[in-house]
């Protein structure tokens, strides 16, 4: 349906938009991207020691002025991209194979983060704030496994009981998962967090965080521009890359993966060839849901998890797959990287004017990224038409 519409829309546009117009648009976009790069490299200025900030004033100044700051931001972006990829690849996998837009993906993230937190609290028995050195690798991996397992089961139940018999009605399925996300969001507020600091009042949906294993709690000297960088963040990137490799191997080197790719291309034909596509759907949903929880454990260890983040992570997943293209692993990777770069750099390198200290324009640039990609490739960078 959607693909026909895309083609139809293209036919319509072909006559409406002339070649010179298209060229002008491309030139404009290229100019904007060039300006953004120049801005970061040379134009931006650090906060002046005396006098008022100008339109060129940013937190760090240009990359030429402050290469260390630039490198740190670049690493922040890439490592955040690793986390984005873990969460969004699950969303993309489910969508690519089953055409189900799992609007509860952010809720799975939320629930996964809280479950992992409770398990870690239970295991360490330290109470709320745990010093990093007190957490062994197992005390981080066990919460991860439990959270991923519970969310995988939740996903499987939802798929089997609610989505299986509504197959093919993609809007109805989106509505079903929205309903589930409403229930989960409310249930999280009602029941989590269970471990609170002694003496504090239990308040539903409060922010809590996991603790990375002790060995990641140090800075690594990169020997470039004197930058010391958090090992935990590098570990986060490594997890994202590892997950990408594992998923790629799974999809391209195993029989299940082959069936999934066949299903993405042509569901009916795959089914007609005698493949049990229902089993494949269930597997994909389990893996996709578990990835949301896995991402939640990583994200909660680096930052925190709190009621309301479900919407944010749904947005993150949506932007990544809309930019990268639905159901494509490479698209999810590229989309994560692009989104993370835009998000992180615009938070630091946009001008900070004096009297509006707290304004963040990064969301505007996120939207610009989305609009740009859609203007040229409505199916996303790696998406296929037809």
């Amino acid at each position: 349906m959607a693909d026909y519409a895309l083609q139809a829309a293209r036919v319509g546009l072909g006559s409406a938009r002339t070649q010179p117009g298209r060229f002008a648009l491309r030139a404009l976009v290229a100019g904007m991207v060039l300006f953004a790069l120049l801005w970061i490299l040379v134009i931006a200025e650090p906060f002046p020691e005396s006098g008022l900030p100008t339109w060129r004033t940013t937190t760090y100044g240009s990359a030429v002025d402050n290469p260390g700051g630039f490198l740190r931001i670049l690493l922040d972006a890439v490592t955040f991209g690793g986390l984005l990829f873990i969460v969004a690849s699950g969303f993309s996998l489910i969508f690519g194979l089953m055409r189900v837009v799992n609007m509860a993906h952010g809720s799975f993230y939320l629930l996964g983060g809280y479950i992992a937190y409770e398990i870690q609290q239970e295991m360490t028995g330290q109470g709320f704030f745990i010093p990093g050195t007190d957490v062994s690798t197992w005390e981080w991996v066990a919460p991860l496994l439990v959270a991923a397992g519970s969310i995988a089961v939740t996903g499987l139940l939802i798929q089997q009981f609610l989505l299986r018999w509504t197959q093919g009605q993609d809007l109805r399925q989106a509505l079903i998962t929205i309903a589930i996300s409403v229930v989960i969001a409310d249930q999280v507020i009602a029941h989590f967090p269970r471990h609170v600091p002694s003496g504090a009042v239990q308040f539903g949906g409060n922010a809590v965080s996991l603790t990375w294993p002790g060995w990641t709690d140090r800075l690594v000297d990169l020997h470039v521009a004197g930058v010391q960088y958090s090992l935990a963040r590098l570990f986060m990137l490594a997890l994202g890359v590892a997950m990408g490799i594992v998923l790629w191997l799974w999809l391209h080197r195993t029989r299940t993966g082959m069936v999934i790719r066949a299903g993405v291309d042509d569901r009916q034909m795959t089914s007609a060839l005698g493949v049990n596509i229902q089993k494949t759907f269930a597997i994909a949903f389990v893996v996709g849901s578990a990835l949301a929880a896995f991402g939640a454990v990583v994200g909660t260890s680096q930052g925190n998890v709190a009621s309301g983040q479900d919407g944010q992570w749904l947005l993150n997943s949506l932007v990544v797959v809309i930019v990268g293209g639905m159901g494509s692993l490479g698209g999810a990777a590229l989309g994560s990287l692009l989104y993370a770069l835009v998000f992180t750099f615009s938070a630091v390198y946009l001008p900070t004017t004096g009297d509006n200290c707290c304004t963040q324009y990064s969301i505007v640039l996120t939207f610009a990224l989305l609009a740009l990609v859609l203007a040229f490739r409505p199916q996303g960078l790696f998406g296929r038409v037809g």
């Binding site: 319509g12 546009l13 749904l314 969301i363 409505p378």
Partner: protein, 352 residues
């Protein structure tokens, strides 16, 4: 496509007339709480829901961006009309402009933004359109929260003190707002009925049914979708303005995912196929919202949202086209007992 009145439409017209008469004398019949809170709120959210259902029923596009557009209109009004209080810290730009001018500008700018957003989304459809418009909603939420010049995370309050002179004091006379909301609802309903009968409306429905055929017939499919989205943005801006007059304030929460889903729940309860369902769904939602607030579910616990979520789930599973769909099927069943009139009703139902 017979123009004969079937008994379903006859019943509907009678019911509609009764409801209208009841609403016209609303303040005489219902107590203040019902008029000011439930009915006014249902009418204004009904307008927003109607903009969503219009796009869904006639354009085949389910837009989750309508609350964002409502919020944009509310924010424009809030920034333009409020005045910087002496000594006090006031939120937003606090331009202190003329309320009538601000009203017109809010509608125009929101419609313009709607056309722009519609143009970005026009080449996608179905589930892609839903996802894209959902990102609009979430982005609007963060935009208004993070760009502190326009307000920041705390609300711009006291907007309802600055109504245009020809509207008058709605704080002291809430019935006024009720009648404005009622009048706007009727106007929106009538305009929508009219628009779908114009050549534009007919070709929009063609685009809904078969975009490929329409574009090979020479119709510009994205242009039709963009225009429809712009029209829906115009309707949503009306709802947004009524909302800030009713609530007096606007905050990022009004644009957030929660509100977006609430509006969608209203539409799904009413039914995504018929515009009348908008007001029905909004009314049902707000009544449930008011009277189930303190009920706690056994076992699950949680608040009202769990109940709303479960009701939403139930309706989507049982009757995807909501209460209006249930009504259509029920009346067909009643009529269809042993006569050939059921067939005619179906034909007429499609024509209506």
């Amino acid at each position: 496509m017979s123009l004969r009145l079937t008994s379903q439409t006859a019943v509907e017209r009678t019911l509609g007339l009764v409801v209208l008469v009841l609403l016209a004398f609303g303040p005489l019949i219902f107590n203040d709480y019902w008029v000011n809170s439930i009915l006014t709120q249902a009418l204004l959210f009904g307008i927003a829901a109607a903009s969503l259902i219009f796009l869904s029923a006639y354009g085949g596009m389910i837009s989750l961006g309508q609350t964002a557009l409502m919020g944009i209109a509310g924010y424009i009004i809030g920034n333009m009309v409020t005045e910087r209080l002496p000594g006090g810290e006031s939120k937003g730009l606090a331009l202190g402009w003329d309320p009538t001018l601000s009203l017109v500008l809010a509608i125009l700018i929101t419609t313009g933004i709607g056309l722009l957003l519609g143009a970005v989304a026009a080449r996608s459809s179905g589930i892609y359109f839903l996802m894209l418009t959902l990102t609009y909603a979430v982005i609007a939420f963060y935009f208004f929260g993070q760009v502190t010049q326009f307000g920041g995370f705390s609300p711009i309050a006291g907007i309802n003190q600055y109504t245009p002179g020809w509207v008058g004091d709605i704080l002291g006379h809430p019935d006024k707002l009720y009648y404005i909301a009622l009048g706007t609802s009727l106007a929106v309903f009538a305009v929508m009925r009219y628009v779908v009968r114009t050549p534009f409306g007919i070709s929009l429905q063609g685009v809904r049914d078969d975009p490929v055929r329409m574009s090979s017939l020479g119709f510009n499919v994205p242009f039709h979708r963009t225009l429809a989205f712009g029209f829906a943005a115009f309707v949503a801006s009306l709802a947004g303005i009524l909302y800030v007059w009713w609530d007096g304030q606007v905050a990022p929460g009004n644009v957030g995912l929660g509100t977006t889903i609430e509006l969608l729940v209203m539409c799904v309860i009413g039914g995504l196929r018929r515009v009348e369902g908008a007001w029905l769904g909004a009314f049902a939602f707000i009544v449930i919202n008011n009277y189930v607030r303190n009920v706690e579910l056994p076992l699950l616990g949680g608040s009202f949202n769990t109940i709303i979520g479960l009701i939403f789930l139930f309706i989507v599973l049982v009757s995807p086209d909501g209460l209006m769909g249930m009504w259509s099927r029920a009346s067909k069943l009643l009529e269809g007992t042993g006569s050939r009139r059921a067939v005619e009703t179906q034909a007429a139902g499609r024509g209506a």
